[in-house]
């Protein structure tokens, strides 16, 4: 849990090319993220906050027309933004594995799951067929499949959503990566299966000593799994810290607003608070805090400038007035 972080994203900017300058915009402007081996880091934010794009940038998987325009991404000492094709290919699967949101479309429907895992194993290790098969069965068993020999021969459509997601994790881990990126891995699953998959991920991070980055919009998922959490809003990191601290004592009004919007056993529907207004349009460059127009704590100066400051060890916030929250922002 100490030493140099395995993954280090600093002030990442991602730009989308448009037909001309006016149509181009930056959906991510200053995302920062660090993950150490053995650690599960959550990235939360609403749709369009740039969390999935950040994750895809780490995997080197940005769609055509979308590219990194600033900042740095270091994975295990490799600068992903500057890496050449061959370096990137070596990194994929071998250093970075990725789990996707939709288990329906993330597996090839025409291949048996065993063959898909074997393919992923063989892409990174020069092993015999038998050895690759053995490793695949081992992975299936590690993913909690009973009778791996039988499951091995099944097609994706013969599996449930949770099973598919576990196969997906097995494939992502086949190249023995040290960093596992998960893009909303449980959003498509029902509640009980979600718990199972999350517990599996937490167990894997500890057992295999790998870093897991978990993108989600579900604060409950963060609470259950993550040691640390990064909150993103409008393409920026607004708050970072230990999950317990951030969720108990948020120091950014956006985090507080998110927490107040979460249904709990004690709150009635009427007590849930929606966040007023809408996220900013990203084509316009904002000098100040992007959340200021919707923020209950904002003052005119918030629209002028924003800076990220460290408030405790490993705890940062992008709110100028975070001290106000320390006093007033309790969830009670």
């Amino acid at each position: 849990m100490s030493g140099e972080p395995l993954l280090s994203v600093r002030d990442l900017r991602i730009g989308v090319a448009g037909r001309d300058k006016a149509a181009a915009f930056e959906p991510v402007v200053g995302a920062s993220l660090h993950a150490r081996r053995g650690e599960v880091v959550g990235v939360v934010g609403e749709s369009g906050s740039g969390k999935s794009l950040t994750l895809r940038a780490i995997a080197g998987l940005l769609p055509a027309g979308v590219e990194v325009t600033g900042g740095a991404i270091d994975v295990d000492g490799i600068d992903v933004t500057a890496a050449g094709r061959s370096q990137l290919r070596g990194m994929r699967g071998g250093v970075v594995g990725m789990v996707f949101q939709e288990p329906m479309t993330a597996l090839n429907p025409t291949m048996r799951i065993g063959a898909q895992i074997v393919e992923a194993v063989a892409a990174h290790a020069n092993v015999s067929r038998a050895a690759a098969r053995g490793r695949s069965l081992e992975l299936l068993e590690r993913m909690g499949f009973t009778e791996p020999e039988r499951r091995y021969r099944l097609y994706p459509h013969e599996l449930s959503g949770g099973m598919r997601q576990r196969v997906m994790i097995a494939i992502a881990l086949a190249g023995e990566p040290s960093l596992l990126l998960c893009d909303e891995p449980t959003t498509a699953l029902d509640a009980t299966v979600t718990m199972r998959v999350l517990d599996l991920l937490v167990g894997l991070a500890a057992d295999l000593d790998i870093a897991v980055v978990l993108v989600t919009h579900d604060l409950g998922v963060v609470a259950r799994t993550c040691a640390r959490v990064v909150v993103m809003y409008a393409g920026r990191m607004v708050e970072e810290g230990l999950a317990a601290d951030v969720l108990q004592r948020p120091r950014h009004p956006y985090t507080l607003a998110l927490l107040r919007a979460v249904p709990t056993r004690d709150a009635t529907i009427e007590e849930l608070e929606a966040i007023p207004g809408a996220p900013p349009i990203l084509t316009a460059e904002l000098p100040g805090c992007p959340f200021a127009p919707r923020c209950a704590f904002s003052e005119p100066a918030c629209l002028e400038a924003v800076r990220t400051e460290a408030i405790e060890r490993g705890r940062t916030t992008a709110c100028r007035r975070h001290e106000l929250l320390a006093v007033n922002g309790s969830l009670a």
């Binding site: 290919r89 070596g90 699967g93 996707f100 429907p109 494939i171 992502a172």
Partner: protein
Amino acid sequence: MSSNETLPPVAATIGEPRQSSPRRVGAAVRRGVGADTSLVIGVSIIVLLMLAGLLAGLLAPYDPSKQDLENTLVGPGSEGHLLGTDQLGRDVLSRLLYGARVDIFVAFGAVLCPFLIGTFLGLLAGYKGGWFDTILMRIVDVVFAFPVLVLLIALVFVLGPGVVTIIIAVTLVDWVAYARLSRISAKREGGLEYVAAARVGGIPHWRIVFRHILPNTISQSIVYAMSDTVLIIIFITTLGFLGLGVPPPTADWGTMISEAQPYFSSHPWLPVIPGVAIVLTGLGLSLIADSLAQRIDAR
């Protein structure tokens, strides 16, 4: 390139066939008897016709080119000539069987080359995108701009008649349909997460294209190839009719109809018999194409 460009007619071959599709007849039969029965019927027809062509040497009672000027224009059902003889006294049944060999096998041969070439290029264009995609699609647009049959006939006219010519001409014109079809499918599949997953997993590009994208897109091309074969058979017989087909005295259904022209009113069976053979082949392929498409849709 935007995805809202005009789709080729082939894109409509999945699902309910368009008005002009060779699958229309197959669809009508399938609604009556169900997809499984219609597939069985279609396959049976084509297998029987292929066997007839393959075994023509054994089945045919006469040499298909052997003339017998004393027994010309004998009607069907007469002794020794089940389907009668033509104006040169050649046995119609024998010519029909040998004609099956030419028409069906040349048609399948002629559909294979454009199928392979077009599918390969389309997959690459759809997966890779960029300049290769742009250039390939411009070429496809140019070829598509010409009326197919006119272009084919012009090509055969330039290259000279013969089986090889037919295959070359069809390949030159027809690959574009497969290229468009597989490009669109490859683009669609390429956006799905299993392809992204394979890329993150460090799987080589060629393997992603052939092991992941190809098996998920090929079924549409196969369905189209079945419909396409019908069109090619019509094309081959049209060439035969125009005197540009397989050179005589080789029997071919189109040539048979063409040669029977002067006897249409006096001996109607002469053009009708090869005509029925063509229709039957078309029906068989139409049934196969349509029932296969239904299966793919059902998945």
